[in-house]
Structure formats: structure tokens, C-alpha cells
Symmetry: D3
Subunit: 281 residues, 6 copies
């Protein structure tokens, strides 16, 4: 995935304005002369997968056009504690003003990429893929999903509009799985995929019999049931396990043979990765 410049600029500008509040970095304005220069290096303080470098650098360049930046690592690189990510020189005042916003993006997105990567590594060789959910931090979905992809994960739908996901309540209103799928197949645009959530193997059989779903989400099933489910589906649609997934359960789930495992924690509970800006004024 490539982030759009328009989206990067918009979100970074918003973050800078949030931090500036009424409009100034009062400390730096009082203590750092307008003309003073500084150099700095973005440096990992722990091991992890780097993500969000373009947002971090934009925080500096949107604050001041006079920064020179050299990139030493790329989004997706595994960086080690102490490793230099990028170095920059420019106005000292603006460097201090933009520092926190730059780091807030970088540490948050690298945290997501790193956690995603741990899940991905955990199921290595299983042929299964880790994917994200819509359980994201409001305002950052695109960027969080980008971080998941940088960490080696796949992206589930981006919103309510770009894929159909039929859940229990939709089925209840439609009357049955069969009716829900028929109705959706008839009415949905042909460029939209249809996914349906099931809790039991009986429900799964209904989905298989209907034949119109592209993906089935197997919700909160045991690895044993997942295995049966995969066998039942037999490649006729994609299978996705969800619910109760963590680093200690994910391997067993993956070995059930499902195609995808969706993990809300990637985006709603990833701890930040520690990255700092070492400044030399």
C-alpha cells in the first residue's frame, strides 16, 4: 500500500495544529533564537518494525520548509535498538516544535507494525495470513491499516462501504442465512465481495449450500472446529477465523488451515514502539 500525499499532509497538519493549540511552542519561541540551527537523528530505542517515516518527516517539513533529511531506514525494515532511522538538519526551533508530533506518529504506527509482525512470525509457514479489522482508533484507520500491511499483515475492509459483511443481526432480520445471501447477491454491486459470519458448523453448512458468499468468517470457533470448517468449505470460498486471538492462541488457529485470521488487537491495543529524536543544537 502507498499512502496518498494528500492524506499524509492532512493528518500531519491536523496533529501539528492540535499540539500547537492556540498557536505556538511557547518554550522554544522564548529560548531558541529564530536563526539557530540543529541536527537530529531519529533513533530506535527498542527493536521493531519501522512504520510511518513519511508522516514523521512531514511533521518537520510542514512546520518549516528548511529541513534537510537523510533517510537511513524504510518503512517495513526491522530496526534494532540504537539504530538510526533518519537524520535531519534544520532550524532548531522548528525541530523542537515538530518533534513530538513526528514521534507520536512514528511510535504508534511502528508499534502496530511490530505487533502485526509478531503475529505473522508466530504463524510462519502455515500458509495463513493475519489481517486487521475495523476496530481502529478514530481518524487513523487508513494509517493503522497501512501499518498492518507494513508489518506483513493483510487488510480487511476499510469501512462499511467497500465490502459486505453479514453478521448475526443482519441474518436475523433477513430471516435466514440463505435469504440474507440471496438478497445481498441480487442487490449488491458486482464489484463488491460478500462475507458472512457464522458461529457454528451448521450455519457454515447453510452458507456452503447457498454458494453465494465469497468469504466466511468463522467466529470464536475452537481450532478443532475450525479444522472441520476448513474441510467442509474445501476451497470453495475464503475462510477467516476471528475472536479470541492472541499471540499464544494464533498458531493453533492458523494450523487449522484457515486462510485468514483477523485480529482487532493489532490496531486497538498495540503498545507504542520506543523511538526518540536525539537533537544536537
Amino acid at each position: 500500500m502507498q499512502l496518498s500525499n494528500l492524506h499524509i499532509e492532512r493528518i500531519v497538519r491536523m496533529a501539528l495544529e492540535e499540539d500547537l493549540g492556540h498557536g505556538q511552542d511557547v518554550t522554544s519561541n522564548l529560548l531558541i533564537p529564530a536563526g539557530a540551527g540543529a541536527s537530529g537523528v531519529l533513533r530506535a530505542r527498542q527493536d521493531g518494525i519501522l512504520c510511518g517515516l513519511m508522516l514523521a518527516l512531514s511533521a518537520f517539513s510542514l512546520t518549516d520548509i528548511d529541513f534537510d533529511m537523510t533517510i537511513e531506514a524504510q518503512d517495513g525494515d526491522f530496526v534494532k535498538e540504537g539504530q538510526i532511522i533518519a537524520s535531519l538538519t534544520g532550524p532548531a526551533r522548528s525541530m523542537l516544535t515538530a518533534e513530538r508530533v513526528a514521534l507520536n506518529f512514528l511510535t504508534h504506527l511502528s508499534g502496530i507494525a511490530t505487533l502485526t509482525n509478531q503475529f505473522v512470525e508466530e504463524i510462519k509457514g502455515s500458509g495463513c495470513e493475519i489481517c486487521d479489522t475495523r476496530k481502529t482508533i478514530p481518524g487513523l484507520r487508513m494509517f493503522q491499516k497501512y501499518a498492518v500491511s507494513i508489518g506483513g499483515g493483510a487488510n480487511h475492509r476499510f469501512g462499511l462501504d467497500d465490502a459486505i459483511l453479514i453478521k448475526d443481526n443482519h441474518i436475523a432480520v433477513a430471516g435466514s442465512i440463505d435469504e440474507a445471501l440471496n438478497q445481498v447477491k441480487m442487490l449488491a454491486g458486482h464489484t463488491v465481495k460478500i462475507e458472512i459470519e457464522v458461529d457454528t458448523l451448521e450455519q457454515l453448512q447453510e452458507v456452503i449450500d447457498n454458494g453465494k458468499a465469497d468469504i466466511v468468517m468463522l467466529d470464536n470457533m475452537s481450532p478443532a472446529d475450525l479444522k472441520k470448517a476448513v474441510k467442509m468449505v474445501d476451497g470453495r470460498m475464503s475462510t477467516e477465523a476471528s475472536g479470541g486471538v492472541n499471540l499464544s492462541t494464533v498458531r493453533a488457529i492458523a494450523e487449522s488451515g484457515v486462510d485468514y485470521i483477523s485480529v482487532g488487537a493489532l490496531t486497538h491495543s498495540a503498545p507504542a514502539m520506543d523511538i526518540a529524536l536525539d537533537i544536537d543544537v
Copy 2:
């Protein structure tokens, strides 16, 4: 703290539009008749401190004006697994459309309030207070800081503009701690507090000798050094410990006698609290 309605409406509207993407909940539009009603309950799926209820409810009311809502718990309440937080009735389609945005706010902010509360409980009786930092998720700072206050924590400054925090780089440019403080005291508005960060007791002594700081941040000091620092300060300004704080170290730090402990993890690494919407269509 009370959140402004204007800010709540703005952020919830943004989140709804993010989730709607090009503009529709395609699944619910296809499967739920326009006139169908539903009732639902927001229910805790784990113990924790509730936070963000007004944002969650706004997600429903901004999607559709036809919701009736009954509040069963308040921000700041400790809710138990299974406890009902609020119940709502209204149009089924809109309830499903707004569900994820409502929960994304509620689970994220309750996660922060809950983690904050764990820190607060950990140092109970010490006379010390837990506070937040500017290490927040871009776009949500006000709401995250609200969650910290709901969890029993105190708020550090909200941005670069509302308090002075002199760090090592500022001191380096100014020439010395003494010069930095003198310069700031002379130039800063009289309604703004002055905080300065020190790494050593020698630096602390300079700050004490100068006498112009309102708060001193004691960065990465051992509990033993913090104790000495508190003694040296002797009530002449507020003391704040920061760096390397986690749930297992915080008690020892608090017992050093410092007034405040600032914890970045409250806002950058709090796991979401599990809360769900149980819908009856």
C-alpha cells in the same frame, strides 16, 4: 473535566464519515429495511473504568435522530464484566451503522481510564498523583486526557502552548539552567507556569538556586535520587518524576515523595477495554 459538545460532535462526525467511506453501510442498507427497529445494550465484557459514553451515544444520535437512550453507568464508574452501560432503541439500520464507531471510542477511552486507574490504585496513599504526557494518538489528545482524568489521573499540559517545559536542548541553547530560567521568567506571560527538566541532582541544585521554576521534572532518576531530590526541593516547587515508569516501578517512585509521576504509556500504549453492543432486532 467536561468535554465540549462542539468537540464531541466534530470528532464523532469525523469518525462516522471515516467508517462510511464513500458514504454507506452497504450491508445494512441491503439487508435491513428502512423502517425496522432494534434495541441494544452496551455491555462491558471485562472489568474496567468506563469512559467515553457521550462520544459513543453521539455516534448513534448523529447517525439518526430517532434513538432513545437510557444511561445505566457514567464515565468514571468501575463496571464489571457483563454489566449494562446503556440501553438504546431506535432504527435497526442506523444502530448497526453506528455500532463500530461508538465502540471504537468507548473501548479506547475506557482502556485508557482503566490503565490510568491501575497506576492510581498502585500508588494509593502515597500522596502522589499520576499524570499524562503529550505522547498521545494524533487527533485524540483532548479525549485521551479526559480519559486520564476520568481514571483518576491528573493532566499535564495539553500542548506546546499552555505551559513552558524547558528540556535539555533548550538549556543547551540558552547556555545554562540559570540563563534559561531567567530568560523565560522575563519573557513569558504571567499566566503560564514554568517547568524544567533535570537529569541530575547537580542540575536540580541550579534550578533551586535560581528559584524561578514552578515545577521540576526529574528525568529517569532512581527512587533513591528522587528521594534526595524531594528533600532538596523541600516544597519550594512541585516535583514530577518521569521516565521508565511502569506498574511494577511506580510504587517505589511514588514513595520517594515526588508530587507527580508522568506516564506516557497511559495514552500511547493502553490496551482497549472490551465492550460490546448486544443488539436485538
Copy 3:
């Protein structure tokens, strides 16, 4: 499809502000007393499919909360010349102020729905569906696609993000149809459909052999070739004809057996439907 209230309000507010310019309806402000009332009826001046009523009514209610409105027809209704669509009573000044914006939405979207319906009627019984494209008027895509669906058409993708459409240039860079499809299948999220455009039956054969596309777009083929193409595909994926479609060619294309025909003219060249507001002051 149901339009989101948030999107309706945003676009109508924008349109009202555009028409108010510096901020006033100078004629009505000078001539209509603040307290004067009026009644009006929205009336079709030609036969057609009504679309956009909610936007039209929002133009009045966002200008002034004091309107009473009675709806006499619904989006999707075929209305005859002279037929009343809705009646409203309220402040005369605001009715005159909002009139043009209300009509601009209503006539434009009804024009699209009506044109779409003509295409749909033209191919009635063929089993084929008419769908739209991304050739839309900037800023109105969601609303124009809504109008297509109201007119009986289907919606193609809403943007660059919600489905994959591999065109000649993508194939050229990838090296071949086979490589393009393999690459996309491997990297794309599992909730996203893959469509590929082909110009010749040879290319189509490559797509069929590869087997990873969900939809094939048959670009600018004669009805005869389309017929061959449909036979070759034999139900293994959806088929979509595009290029050179107009009301006199569409029937022959539909009878080739393709599943979908995409028509750019629906959204880029639909003439407005004539609808007026008859006011009684």
C-alpha cells in the same frame, strides 16, 4: 442504497453557501418581510424518475427550521408531467432563498435516474444489468451513483480504493495479464474483488486460463465478439461490456449475454429533468 444524513447535510450546506456567496439573498431580504409565509409545491414539468428528494428538502430545512413538508412521491417513483412531488409551507424569504439549490439537486439527480431508467428499460428481459462508472461530476459521485441505483442501475466501484480494476497500462507494467493477475491476487486484501480489462478474445483467453479474476471488462467489443466472449467465459466470472454504449446500441450489447454494461454517460452527460417549485406567497 441509503444516503447517509451526514453526507446529505454536508453537500447541501456547501451548495447553499455557494449560492449565498458573501452571505445573503439580497433580493428576498429587501422585498420579503421577515415574518411572511408562503406555501409551495415541487412539481414535475416532464415525465421522469424522481431522485434526490431528501437533498431538496434539506435545502429548505437547513435554511430555516420552520418548514412543514409533505412528501407526495418518493425517490424512484416515475412521476408524470404536472405531478406534485412534495408540498411545503414556511417562511417566504427562506423558501425563495433555498429554491434554486433544492431544484439544482433534484433536477440533476432525477435526470440521471431517468436516463439510467431508459437504458434499463431498453434491455428489459435480457438478464443484463446497466451500471455506472467513475466518470462522474467531481464532488457528487456518491449522489450520482445513488441516482443510478434509484433509476434501476447497478453501481460499479465507488473509487480507486474499493475494487481492483486492471487496465492496459497496469498489464504493460506487470509484463502480462497472467503476471498482473498473479501479483494482484497475492497482494490484494481478500475482501477486494479483481476486475481486468481486455480488448481482444486472445486477452480474454489469458484471463480465463489464469483463473484469478472475478470480473472481466470487455472493452469496445462488437456484439458478435461479446457473444463469443460470454461463451468462452461460461459463467466462471462476471462479464462487463464497456465502450461505445448508447441507447441505440445497448440492446444488441445486452443480448450478447454479458452480465453488466457500464455506461459513463449516465453520470457525465445526463440532461437535467425539469422540475419546478410553484410558490404561493
Copy 4:
């Protein structure tokens, strides 16, 4: 007329964001390497008046700063089928991403300029001018009116605020044509022109007798009545015919001697002009 850069940038940015939806061109991101270059030419696929080139080019430059563009034709030029309008080289991925937005502006505005020009050509030599109305597509009024001027038409008022247009309902509330004109003349700013709409020659006589109008709009009159009207007015104010104007009626209307003919269809019903981007990757 010259379009303001601020307005161009705002509308093009909006259009790009609309097309990017959640934020990416998923096809191009998956298939086009970040470093790949491409060249392309904007080429007319039918004869017409070019309009909107600056918006089209902005779509590319706002997506990516690395485009080189050479302009081969200007807004207002009559371009022939096959003629090259502009050529560009730059990043292949961004060229594909921006293509549709660029073309949507260019084909829509050139369509309006071309249709306007047909009306203008139709009445050549009559001394009469074709002008637009407020019957525009919401959000694009300024750009549509620019296209009318590029096509050789004149601009009527841009909104409710920049000129007075007294219609039947205003007259009804004021009591009479005389009272309406007197009231407006007394209260309106001196920099604002006064136009009044009449349906009959009797009403026209009242307007003439009053003497305060700058322009009279002769609504839905036959060419014969228009001729009489022009004679009655005898140069004391501008005359504008409106209603029921199309390419087959416009010449007769113009020959009545009216100064202006306003045509809603220019902006609400102009078919797009076919223009394409031929890309070489």
C-alpha cells in the same frame, strides 16, 4: 475570467480525495512500482472547445510534485478530434491515480464550453449574447460559469448576493412592479444592479414607466413579443430573454433584438466532451 489558484486547488484536492476514498489507488499501488515512470498525452477524442486544463493539470501536480507538463492547447481553443492538448511525464503510479479526476474536470468543463459555443455560433452576427443561469451543478458553479465564458458566453449573476433579480413572487409580496422596484432602489447598495422578470408586455410597460430597473428579463415570450418588447424598451435598459431556449429556437430569439439570452441547459445539461489520456508506461 481567471480562476483563482486557491479555488482550483481546493476543488481538485476535494475531487482527488473523493476518488481515493479511504486513501489509495489499490490497483496501481499493487501493480506499478514506486519508481516507474510514464509519459502521457491528453488528447481530444472529438471536436470541441477546450476548457479546464489548469484543473486537469492540477490533479496530477497535487498527486505528485514530480510531473513535467507541456501545454499544447489553451482553454478556449477549438481542438479537433485526435489533437494533443498537453503532454506529461512523471511517476506512472501517480499518473494513473490522477487520470480520472483530471479527465472528469476536463470533459465536463469542455462539454459546457462546447455547448455554449454552439449557441454562440448559432446567433453569430445578431449582436445578442448568450449567458448562463444559476441552474448549475452544486459545488461547481464558479467553474461552470468559467466554462461558459471560455465558450464565448457571458456570465449572469454568480449567486443570490451579487445582483438583484426580482421575480413574480417578489412582486406579489411587494404589491406591484412599481412598489417592488421603488423599494429595491431605495434599499439596495449602489453597486448592485437591479433586474426584474416580466411575463407580459403590460408588465414590461410598468417596468419602463418606473424607470429604476437596469435589466428586464423577458420570460417565455415569443420572438414576436420579444421584438415588440425591445422596441418598447428602446435602449433604456438591458433586455434578456429566457425560457424555452434551445439550439433550434435561439436564432429567432436573438433576432428579436434582445441583448442577452440566458440558457440553463449550458450548465445543467451539457454532455461531456470526450477527451482521453493516452499513457505510455
Copy 5:
């Protein structure tokens, strides 16, 4: 003039957000219980012309929907020191939060209306009108011009787009007054008035000879020259004096017989009128 609700809401919301900064009235939140009520009266602290009441009241209602308000005076009323303008009851916390924004609008706009009125009174009986200019405070033009009209003044053009004003530099580029007027008359839309600025009676004669201007601005002329100018014009166009106008010079200027006198000070230098909110908690 009537202010549009959309514009009022937008500007008041902006002002409230500006005052709330990161998002709270920290004092009131800490000291006023959420449920506490209060009553208050808006009261003039000096004599003057009231203006901006709807903006002031919107500051309260946008902060909290639970206000009851009684209006005791209207925009345009001459209020005496001590006179009650409006009374309100509602939540104490929100009343205190909105107070300053409400007053900032009310005192600024009433200040403009009052100053305008002083100019208007000063030239009473002369038949001349006072009007404003584009020398306004950025962001508030519409509201400042509304205040001028409330104070009894007339409005000059609202922006660069709604009337033509030819100044010395335009004339210099065009070559001569005659050429400038001819060019503009030929190219401008027929709904737009043409004003031209002259410094000397010789220039005025050129304007008169040309005959295409609707208004002539007589810049920085003495009352004696203005008198000659009015005689020369002899009713063939509107005359407007500008430059060096203040309360002691305005009467003499008005008595020269010019139709309008434009005064920049009305909007760029009007002192605020003193109005307060007396609160009873």
C-alpha cells in the same frame, strides 16, 4: 440585510472553538457543578446602536441546547446605558463558557453600528448616504457590513467579485480612462455595475465623456471640487466621495451633493461598544 443562519452558525462555532482552545473552560468545569443553573441579562453599559444579537445568542445555544432566552431589544435599536438587551436562563457552566464569545461579537458589531450611526446622524438631511469599504477585519466582512447597514449605512461591494471598481493602476495598464471603461463594458457581465475612481476633475470629464460608468468615486477631493464634480456629473451616474473622511469633515463633504461617502474607519477602526452579561448564579 438578513444574516444567513448557516453563516452565523459557522462563525460562532469557530469563535467558541477558538476560545476553548484544547477544548475546555477549565475554571468553570472545576468550580461549577454540571447541574447548576443561572440567569443572566445582557445589558448595555453605554449608549449605542445594538447589533449582533443573533450571534451572541447563538454562542449560548451552540454551547448548550438548554438555554431559554428572551429578547428585549433588536438589532438597530438605540439602547441606553443600563438598558437590558436580552435575558437568559440555563446551565451556569455553559453560560460562563459562552459569555466572552457572545460579548466579543456583540460589542464589536454594536461598536460598528454605533459609529456608522454617528456618521449618518452627522449628515442627516443632506440626502447623502454613508457606505462601507473592503477595509474590514479578515473573516468578519459579512458581519461588519451587516453592522454598517444596521447603523443606517449602505453597503459598498462585498468583495472583488460582485462589482467592478477601476482604480488608477487599472487605468494605467489599460492606457486611459476611456479604454479601461470601454474594455470593461465590453467584457463584463451585464449584471455587474462599473465604478471608476478619479482624482481630478479632468479625469472626471473623461469618465463623463465615455458614458459607460455607473458610479464615479471622487477620491480625496475638497468639498469645493466635489461640488463642481456633482455639477459636472449632473445625475448621469452615482457619485461617491472617499478619502480623508471623519466625523468633523463628513458634513461638508455631504453638502457637496455627492450621493455616497465611503468610510473605511467604520469597519477598521470602530471602538467596541461596552455591553456586559450580568449573571445571577
Copy 6:
């Protein structure tokens, strides 16, 4: 204080769009050829303190990137009537388009800086400082406060969020000065200063006895009472006089020994400073 580029660009863009209305400078577009160049100088037409130069220059550079500008004076300089502030060369059309917006910022902010400076000069040598209030023009607070600082004044709080100011109504609800201060001290963040307003020396004594306020605002006291108040406070907190301050009273107030005098008139009633753009086309 340094203004943030982000804030400058946002406000200047807004002002340009306000002046352009529907989107064009109709006069310059009709009379100035696209390629014509011009040179101009910003020149003071009266003595005063320059302020807002960056905003003025941004008005030109945001309108057109092709301006060359040379700065001859800086914000804060005392400029004499006739002195050149900056010179610019660039496109004539854009120079005329941006002129008024540039001057509106420059004359308004220089007016504030100049008035502030008059107050500052008036109390020279007293050791007291002049500061601003929240009585500002909506939308311009940050810029007005910047102008106050440029004029030699100090800044009071920027909004409701960055300092606590306890007024009579807060005290009334809290029950007493003592309770209000205790409550605020206990609940407020440690980075926020506490100011309290008193009307009498008795109230002041309560504040002194409580000991928790950082600043006391002495409202509407006579110089004699202020003197007593300063003596009572005896350096234990900052003292601020407010109410009834003008250029003839300020010296006496300052000589009372108070630390700060807050003056609403600086931002709500400063007359514009006369500055012009002399253009050579």
C-alpha cells in the same frame, strides 16, 4: 512569540477566499493582462509599530508563487510616515488581487501594536507591564495577541483552557473565595496557574490568607486602593489591575506598584494604522 506558518497560511487563505467571494477579482481579470508585471512598495502613511508583515506577504505569495519580495522593516520596528516596509515585484493582476487582504492584516495588527506601545510608553520605568485580555475579535485572537507582544505588551491567557481565572460568579457558586481556591488547587492540573478576581481589599485579604492563588486580579480599584493592595500582597503573588484603564489613567495605575495592567481596548478598540501599497504597473 513566533506565529506558526500553519496558522498564518490558514488565516490568510481564509481572508483571500472571503475577498474573492465566488472566486475572482473581476476588475483586474478584465483589465490586467495575465502576463503583465508590476512592482510595489508597502509604505507607512503614519508613524507606528509595524506588525503582521508575514501575513501581508503571505497574501501575495498564496495568490501567486511568482512574487519577489524584499523586507525593509520587521515586526516591532517603529516606522515613520513615508517609510518603506517592503518592496515586491510580481504579476500585476495578482498584486492587485491580494492588495486589500494584505493591507487589512497589516493595518489592523499594526494598529494594535501601536496602541499597545502607547500604553507601554506611558508607564515606562514603572516596572509594570501592560497585558491583553480575551476581549478579542473572533477568529483573530492569536494574531491580535501576537500584535500585543510585538507592541511591547505581555499576553494574558489565550483561551478558557490555558489558565484558571476565578471570577465573582465562580466564587458565588463555590461559596467563598477560600472554598473556590481550595477546590481549584486540589483539582487543577499542576501545570496551570490560578488567578482570582477581587473587587475589595477584604476579598484580597481572603485570597492572601488562603495562599493558593498565583495571581490576583484587582478589579476596578482606585490607584489608592491598588497601592494598599500591593502592599498587602507584598510579593506573595502577582498583582494585576483591570477595569477603566485608558491612556490617561494608566500611569497612575502603574505607579500603584501592580505587576500587570490588563487592557481590553488593545484588541477590541485599536484603530487601524494607515499603511498603503504603492504600485507601479
